[in-house]
Symmetry: C2
Subunit: 387 residues, 2 copies
């Protein structure tokens, strides 16, 4: 159930003193040569470790990942770039790798310099205690204000996919956010990992919303080392793709469930859109609507807000196509609005999750999204700190 579940991976998590207390530096490494890929935040403001790691992956296959929590090393200028580079160099030196084979990730406060000497000392300590059962320690070392560690596992015919993530717990005034590291002993060719990682991320991490924010540091990294020894074939490739989807989906769901102040999970399903792109736009708009999210917090099957959000989903320079007379909405399976008319039904919503289904009645496009509700605690966590 961790990044060391797959064969041939070792990990560790240590207390480097980057933040006040607890583990705050994780290291994951493949023992056999691995291949890999990463997907990064699309924010135009990129943290130093993102800039440095993207460059590394242009010329090398990743063999190890260093993650520090506490300081995001974002908006830190040239010094930040130098600090991220030194971190990768130190890890490479300890592990007998090239600098470019090391991915560095940071999460924590934006705009604060990385305490680089502590990080370098931490890297050396972490390298010294790498172990095949170090996954749990690594998973705990990447958290910031998450309520708990986030790990997931899926097994295929002779291979394993495991992963860890940290989520949207921005209780500090400037905190950069979501990281995930996924490892597998499935064999992939150099340059091939991205073709598996991208669809898995599109269907998982790209379909969740806590508050619609897009951080400077978000990253998902996949390492594949082939240590399972299984032979490739089309059926197994499909199975691997599924397993990767399961792990990414589980980690994404854990992130939403542990969203800041979250009390209710919104499972949004849009169908009948004129295109899949528009279905996604509508699902995302509903998932990020403050009015839908406060209604969910209040256990209110508020289809009026769902309609208003669906009607204003940014798409193609305008709004996604909807026609109110063709729209139907249900909450937890109870129809509340059917082809343009209220049904008069008012389902009681009391659970920790609510399923909101919207049929646009226009075509075949469908999409789903997971979101957390908008609560007092979200406001408290994000408002009550001053820099």
């Amino acid at each position: 159930m961790s990044v060391t579940a797959a064969r041939g991976f070792v990990a560790s998590g240590v207390e480097a003193g980057i933040r006040r207390s607890g583990r705050d530096l994780a290291l994951v490494r493949s023992i056999p040569r691995s291949v890999g890929a990463a997907l990064w935040t699309t924010n135009r403001v990129l943290a130093a470790p993102v800039l440095v790691s993207k460059r590394h992956l242009e010329s090398a296959e990743p063999q190890a990942v260093v993650v520090n929590a506490g300081v995001a090393n974002a908006a830190t200028g040239e010094e930040g770039i130098a600090n991220a580079t030194r971190t990768a160099e130190e890890a490479a030196s300890c592990l007998g790798l090239e600098r470019e084979e090391v991915v560095v990730l940071s999460t924590g406060v934006i705009g604060v310099p990385l305490p680089v000497e502590r990080v370098l000392t931490g890297v050396r300590e972490a390298a010294a205690v790498l172990a095949p059962d170090g996954g749990d320690a690594a998973a705990s070392a990447i958290l910031t204000t998450d309520r708990g560690a986030k790990q997931a596992l899926a097994t295929g015919d002779g291979f394993v996919v495991g992963g860890m993530a940290k989520g949207a717990g921005m209780i500090h005034p400037r905190l950069a956010t979501m990281l995930a590291v996924v490892t597998t002993d499935y064999p992939l060719e150099p340059g091939e990992a991205l073709s598996f990682l991208r669809p898995a991320v599109d269907e998982s991490f790209n379909r969740i919303s806590v508050d619609g924010e897009c951080s400077t540091n978000d990253a998902v990294v996949l390492l594949a080392n082939g240590a399972s020894g299984v032979a490739r074939n089309r059926a197994r490739d499909t199975e691997f793709a599924s397993a990767l989807g399961v792990v990414c989906g589980a980690l994404a769901r854990e992130i939403v469930e542990d969203g800041e102040g979250a009390t209710v999970l919104l499972e949004i399903q849009v169908s009948g859109a004129a295109s899949e792109e528009e279905a996604t736009a509508v699902a995302k708009r509903i998932a990020t609507s403050p009015l839908v999210k406060t209604a969910a917090f209040g256990h209110d099957p508020n289809w009026g807000r769902v309609l208003a959000a669906a009607g204003s989903a940014p798409w193609n320079g305008g709004f996604a196509r909807v026609e109110v007379n063709r729209m139907s909405v249900s909450f937890d399976g109870t129809p509340v609005f059917a082809r343009g008319e209220p049904t008069g039904e008012t389902p009681a919503l009391g659970g920790a999750a609510v399923a909101i289904e919207i049929d646009l009645g226009l075509g075949e496009g469908a999409a789903s999204y997971l979101a957390s509700d908008l609560t007092y605690d979200y406001v408290r966590l994000n408002a009550e700190y001053t820099t």
Copy 2:
């Protein structure tokens, strides 16, 4: 300071019993023949009065506006269309107008049928008490949960522009939102009003955000009757455009200041963007960022969140262009981030307004936005009701 400030306008506000208590139906009428225009919500889900009034204005110049509060007549199917049409017919009949010369606006709960008999009775009562000093009564009759009436006035060389608005006070479970009616005794030609109304609205109502939501009922209506008798010339046209801008701007600002749960007004100014369009995209993204808005509530000069929001402003299918090394940010005039580096300054923010200036350092594009903060009360107002 009202819709009856300009010569030749009469108005009234009455208690029609559409909601539990208080005035809830307003009527505004021009005595001389007027011309006019309206701008409507761009939501794809349009309330019945919006659909009906848009059709009316295709074939006639507006002479009167009926506004009811309490029920939005949105998502009410064919019956909703019929009820909006009957409302316009009743007003036309009372005032000796064609049905198409009457604009009907509704604000209130979505998905509930308009109590049409009460509305028709209210229209007759309102028509009977129309008066040149009826502006205040009308302004109070269009409110829902606004803390107070919103009115504005500007005078030019021999003419007057006055207006009223209602804002984003969605404390009911499904409430549709922003309405404004602006009147002037400046002379405009038939078909010409929109060319003045559109830029004024673009710079005012389209530059505010309480929660980024776009309602099914939003409308701004302008009536111009020429009763001032002033002669047109280019200088006076410019003055009229300015006065219209002042009135729309003042009403827009009142709406944000009275936003749901609002305690701090964010005055966002973006400059140095590669284009004006991108400046607007960045300003809007910052104005709708939950993290920026909760930071404002906490009086936190949180430039990290401002940078992260600026870096993820939807534009042209991607994000607006920014380069962190060229960006500068100040809070209330104090630079906190200058061309890619933190300044180390931490201004104390304690007022009811905070000015956030962002210079992208790329070009000449500039834009401003007004926003409210995100507070406990916003969540309470929108969460604590169940249908």
